[in-house]
Symmetry: C2
DNA sequence: CAACGTTATGTACGACCGTACACAACAGGA
DNA sequence: TCCTGTTGTGTACGGTCGTACATAACGTTG
């Protein structure tokens, strides 16, 4: 089933959806706003993604690679014998402190799974994959706990408008590692 | 400045808003849906709450008392020398496991602060107050870490559709307590 | 080359939304 | 009693939304 005309049209729509969510939030996401951002007709977005949930699933899949990329680029998981807590704390600092527009975006898509069951498999898959990667440096239980604690720390920063304290994060993350 | 006609009209609107968010999510919240749920005219909701953010702020304030109530009723914070980690793990179990419709509701309102700056002071206040209450049984740094970890554990359960493991929670919470 | 199914587009409809605003109901001071 | 300001209501407007659907553009098959 070959694609015709514009083979990357679908990808353009996903990219546009991510930009829209980044700028206006999920509340500002509609077939029309995405079509305008991607510079495609309205019918094109409804054709490739019948419901907005379909579009959100695709966007979340793609956004999940954001943090995974930071994780890879950091080299923390490459160094088998480094200080894991310090490494993770540094990664969070880079992720939260960077002026990338992706932090709120990626979290918003992730948290949207709370009310949209269609997103839960994607969120679950990301959690399991990341936990598995962390587990290579500790054990599965600790990996999930580290993930949960990192989530909680980020939430406290993002929801309360506070600032990120890397030294605090390193300290409490270290407590979780047995 | 005496209230006339219906002194509790404002409260009725807030209660209705919480029910609407509980049933249809924030996405289903509008002046009209709230007016219908509260059985008041449309103009009444727009009069008492000019913007939906105003209404969400009031709803979040009220919803925050939900978890605080569970915390109080549990008696965990009353027992000065009990096992804090086990107590908190049990509270989370009651909160998540109960068939109350409040869990997703309260978290949705809380997480909405990510994109709505108007809610952040409320979220921050709840975090600080709860951390202060926990700090009476440990130290401030540990209290905030416990709160973050509890948030993260709940998120993993709610976002991935998984089940809550109280024994796991007790174990990792205990690691955070020095 | 003709028929056909997939891919893609344009447009229109009914529903819902926030908002504005004129107006009614009432309390308290002059 | 009248006047004034606050509280509360009804309605209508312009805009955006999801959705449906007729139709075009194209590749494939026979």
């Amino acid at each position: 089933m070959p694609r015709r005309y514009d083979p990357e049209r679908r990808q353009r729509i996903i990219d546009a959806a991510i930009r829209v969510v980044g700028e206006k939030g999920i509340a500002g996401l509609s077939h029309r706003t995405v079509a305008a951002e991607a510079d495609v007709p309205l019918g094109s977005t409804t054709y490739h993604f019948a419901t907005l949930d379909d579009l959100l699933v695709a966007a979340l899949y793609q956004a999940n690679e954001g943090f995974a990329g930071v994780l890879d680029a950091s080299g923390v998981l490459a160094d088998a014998h480094g200080d894991l807590a310090a490494g993770l704390a540094r990664i969070l600092g880079e992720w939260l402190g960077g002026d990338r527009p992706g932090v709120e975006l990626e979290y918003e898509l992730y948290l949207a799974a709370l009310r949209r069951p269609a997103l839960r498999p994607v969120a679950a898959q990301w959690t399991e994959e990341t936990a598995a990667r962390l587990a290579e440096h500790t054990d599965p239980v600790t990996a999930r706990a580290l993930l949960a604690l990192m989530d909680g720390i980020c939430l406290q920063v993002l929801l309360t408008g506070g600032s990120y304290d890397e030294e605090y994060a390193r300290g409490v993350l270290a407590r979780v590692i047995p």
